[in-house]
């Protein structure tokens, strides 16, 4: 099955991926941008007829996503999108399978499925819309809400520590981990493109503004006057530089990162940590993922990690072929009549 993908010239435009359904997110929702970037990117990255694309989701605002894509789509139940998507992929490995999920959906009720999809390296693209709040249930804190967050269920402030999504994905040894922001369309397009081309579980955390229940959660990263000082754009092979005037950098001293000032003459570009997406060692990626939690450090966006290893689906079909070779194609009559059989005359 895996080898007979129909190869034909496909020329799609963003419009081809828009369904006839009216999009019903709140006006101003960050989801609109994500939908638009997906539709814009797909003509470039979809290497197969669009009937071979499946979008799967769980429950939540973001999970209405499949309805708006003119592909095959499955709106599942809360948290289970990665598992449903796994079944789709294993039933037919020719399909390009995408998951749209939120921080509550994927990391809370669906945490188990998320880590196991990463661990097994199933060839799924998982887009997690992270607005650090429960939107569809109208404003309760989520597993990515910051400690002390005041919400409807935490009127005195949340006492939970939040998940760090890239760290979680890294802990489960995901083969592709990236982050982007709804209000950074070009960057988001690039991350979607990269995820789409990756073979294996590709996880993108997308910071997304919920203008109703958590407006401005990422304003430091999106507002003109603050974003340059708070966002570090990761580029493979490039030193880590940020700041309005490209005046700050990250230096790695052993395993300890430090923010250095490039204007004093003490440090130059050559002293900085050069980003390596393909670094097989997860330790440095973990240091990177911890930046957000370290005061004074910028929030990295971009591809944190991309490594290559056999996907679960490849392994499954390889094994089926190997067993067929060894035992021959299954013969039901032979199986039924095997074991200790006897005749009654």
């Amino acid at each position: 099955m895996a080898n007979n993908v129909e190869v034909k010239e496909i020329k799609y435009t963003a419009k081809d991926f828009a369904s006839d359904q009216e999009v019903r997110w709140c006006p101003g929702c960050g989801d609109y941008s994500i939908l638009a970037q997906v539709q814009r990117t797909f003509p470039e990255i979809i290497d197969r007829p669009k009937e071979n694309i499946v979008w799967v989701s769980g429950i939540g605002c973001s999970s209405r996503f499949p309805y708006y894509m003119n592909t095959y789509g499955f709106h599942g139940i809360h948290g289970r999108a990665p598992a449903i998507a796994t079944g789709v992929k294993l039933a037919n490995p020719n399909l390009s399978v995408w998951v749209a999920s939120g921080d509550g959906d994927l990391l809370s009720i669906g945490g188990n499925h998320f880590i196991h999809a990463c661990r097994k390296n199933i060839d799924l693209k998982i887009l997690m819309f992270n607005n650090r709040i429960y939107g569809l249930t109208k404003g309760q804190y989520s597993p990515t809400s910051e400690k002390g967050k005041i919400t409807k269920t935490t009127p005195y402030g949340s006492v939970d520590y939040p998940f760090n999504p890239p760290m979680l994905a890294l802990g489960a040894e995901a083969s592709f981990i990236a982050r982007s922001i709804d209000r950074h369309p070009k960057h988001l397009q690039e991350m979607i493109r990269r995820a789409g081309l990756h073979k294996g579980t590709a996880f993108i955390e997308i910071f997304q503004n919920c203008n109703i229940f958590n407006d401005g959660a990422f304003s430091l990263l999106t507002e003109k006057d603050t974003k340059d000082d708070h966002v570090l754009e990761l580029v493979h092979g490039q030193p880590m530089i940020f700041g309005k005037n490209k005046d700050k950098g990250i230096k790695l001293d052993g395993m300890t990162p430090m923010v250095v000032d490039l204007t004093t003459g003490k440090y130059s570009k050559d002293d900085l940590w050069v980003h390596d997406e393909f670094d097989p060692n997860p330790a440095r990626t973990a240091i990177l993922a911890m930046f957000d939690e370290t005061p004074g450090f910028p929030t990295p966006i971009g591809v944190f990690r991309q490594i290559t290893k056999e996907t679960y689906d490849e392994g499954l079909f390889r094994q089926i072929e190997e067993v067929k070779k060894k035992k021959g194609e299954g013969d039901l009559e032979k199986i039924l009549f095997s074991g200790n059989v006897w005749e009654v005359n």
Partner: protein, 617 residues
């Protein structure tokens, strides 16, 4: 020189043997081997493995006792037997636990070596039952199985522990001799099983032969017994357990439908063997996915069904509870899916290794919203094969989830199975929708099934999910009248399946005084009880449900043809409740929930009681 006296060979019609020992003593293996050989020589048989949930409870204790009962006969039989005629007890705890069940005057073979102070204490015996008169009235044979095995294995390169472990083969050999069975089958099995360990082959085979020869040589036994082959219909047979039959049934459904089989499952007793068996059929293209939890088990299957595989998920009661929401999703998306529930004792974790049939209401009703699914149940171990095929057929034809109920007893128990040829099995037609013209995701065919339009089909891109969908078009809809319509349509679709399943059969007269009605794995016990009551002159018939939702079309007519209806169940009256509410008839219940199959004698008593003593004779 004295010539050996040929021992008397006594003919028996049927025997029930229980092997009991410590969970480390290999009693399940001994029982299985005895069953295989017994099936092979042509007896009808029925087995009941009964083991503790602990893998290795402390040796010598009563809660660590593992048992295997088998009933074999020269006639058609249906149960593992109420009470054993023969008990093989490898230690005092096994004796203590099983003695109350043994038939009065029955035969006891004990490993006398194990009746030391330590083991007697562990079994809470204050004095040695072999000496204090406890066993008066039984035929007791004290055989020093441990030391005889050790003697026989002298010179074999095995550790003392390994030598001790071989004693189950000694016991098996002795029983083969006593019941006049050949040892060749087991010798062959030993050679295959331990192909990589020549010293295990040598040790186990020696122990087996030593046991057999001990029977021959010792003066202990004055007679041996034989049970003639049963008169089974002509054909090729094998012994099969319910779980293996279930797995083969799905394999057959995959072959007969031409659909790749996908099983998403999470290990759970007593259902795990289904995924274990199916995992060995990779060369059929079978995809077994050991999921991270029960919910992933079923949701991966739903995804696979959406993408066009024959998708199934296997579990037991607690797992079915976890899958509940996803079953609702499969109802809403109207995708074919088979959910196998190998029922065990509940509630909660309950009695993981014991049988029960208390998930019927969970299967029929246990979901949020109006979420009808088809429910079928296998009646015997080999019937699991048929019902797995039936469940798949119904799921595909009606685009619906189907719950297949089996239970711990028939799943682990085995019986001779007349093997069907592949060409005798029904084809399962599959229609994937491919025409673009006039396609809507919730368009329905004559069976009210919606089209199975799988991803990869050009022009049929559509979205489905758990939110209510508009009739025909399948867009999300909150329209109140549409919801009512869809609820009604889904219910009607399931109800219509009644036109496509066999009628409820009555065994015995088709009308009269009393009908005993059962479902699932109690078939054999009820059948034997009804036969016994009839042999005593009572006028009683039997009807057994294998289709529980919908019920067969003639159910009401059948039930109303009898003055009284008795429903024995291993629950507190779940079928009785469904029958009463659906057909507004009064029924008598007989409910015993002990984690064990119903006892034939108890059902017979109940039949007589229901008939009011001699009434109905």
């Amino acid at each position: 020189m004295e010539t050996e006296k040929e021992k008397e060979l006594l003919q028996l019609k049927e025997v029930t043997i229980r092997f009991a020992g410590d969970s480390g003593d290999g009693m399940q293996l001994t029982g299985t081997q005895f069953s295989e050989t017994t099936a092979w020589v042509g007896n009808d048989l029925n087995t009941l493995p009964d083991y503790p949930a602990e893998i290795r409870a402390p040796a010598g204790t009563i809660y660590g006792v593992s048992g295997f009962q088998l009933h074999f006969s020269s006639e058609d039989i249906h149960t593992p037997g109420d009470q054993p005629d023969v008990l093989v007890a490898m230690n005092p705890a096994a004796l203590k636990k099983n003695l109350p069940e043994l038939k009065k005057g029955g035969m006891i073979i004990v490993n006398s070596d194990s009746f030391d102070i330590k083991n007697l204490n562990l079994a809470h015996y204050e004095s040695n039952p072999l000496e204090d008169g406890t066993l008066d009235g039984y035929q007791v044979y004290q055989v020093p199985i441990s030391s005889l095995t050790a003697n026989a294995l002298e010179g074999v390169k095995l550790s003392p522990k390994e030598v001790s472990r071989a004693k189950n083969f000694f016991a098996l050999g002795l029983m083969y001799w006593l019941f006049n069975r050949p040892i060749d089958n087991t010798v062959k099995w030993i050679h295959e099983k331990f192909a990589k360990n020549p010293e295990y082959i040598e040790g186990n085979e020696k122990a087996l032969r030593a046991g057999y020869n001990f029977g021959e040589m010792t003066e202990l036994f004055t007679a041996r017994y034989t049970v003639e082959p049963a008169k089974l219909p002509k054909g090729t047979y094998r012994s099969i357990s319910g779980n293996e039959a279930t797995a083969l049934g799905f394999l057959a459904a995959s072959v007969k439908s031409g659909l790749p089989l996908f099983l998403g499952s999470y290990p759970i007793t007593p259902a795990s063997e289904i995924i274990q068996y199916l995992s060995t059929y990779k060369n059929f293209g079978v995809k077994t996915f050991q999921a991270e939890d029960e919910i992933a088990g079923i949701t991966t299957a739903i995804g696979a069904s959406f993408a066009g595989n024959l998708a199934i998920t296997s579990t037991s009661g607690p797992g079915l509870a976890l899958k509940t929401e996803a079953i609702g999703l499969a109802v809403m998306t109207e995708l074919p899916l088979v959910i196998i529930d190998v029922q065990r004792g509940g509630p909660s974790t309950g009695l993981p290794t014991k049988t029960e049939q208390a998930d019927l209401l969970q299967a029929v009703c246990g979901r949020n919203g109006e979420a009808p699914v088809a429910v079928v149940a296998a009646a015997t171990p080999s019937d699991c094969f048929n019902m797995a095929i039936e469940a798949s057929r119904i799921a595909i034809k009606y685009m619906t989830p189907v719950i297949l109920l089996t239970d711990g007893y028939i799943a682990n128990g085995s019986e001779p199975w007349k093997i069907p040829h592949v060409n005798e099995l029904p084809d399962i037609p599959v229609k994937f929708r491919t025409e673009k013209e006039g396609f809507y995701p919730y368009l329905r065919d004559e069976n009210l099934a919606r089209p199975w339009a799988i991803p990869g089909t050009p022009g049929l891109e559509h979205r489905i999910g758990g939110l209510e969908k508009s009739d025909i078009y399948g867009n999300v809809s909150y329209d109140p009248d549409n919801h009512h319509k869809m609820i009604t349509l889904r219910a009607k679709k399931i109800k219509n399946i009644e036109n496509d399943i066999p009628l409820l059969e009555v065994e015995g007269e088709s009308s009269g005084e009393l009908l005993v009605v059962g479902w699932g794995g109690t078939y054999g016990a009820i059948k034997e009880a009804v036969n016994k009551a009839r042999a005593q002159g009572y006028k009683v018939s039997q009807a057994h449900f294998r289709y529980l939702n919908p019920f067969p079309k003639n159910t009401e007519q059948v039930l109303k043809s009898f003055r009284k209806v008795l429903i024995p169940e291993i629950n507190l009256g779940q079928l009785a409740r469904l029958i009463k509410s659906e057909f507004l008839i009064d029924v008598q219940q007989f409910n015993v929930v002990r984690g064990l199959p119903l006892r034939v004698a108890d059902i017979v008593d109940q039949i007589i009681k229901t008939l009011g003593g001699n009434n109905g004779k």
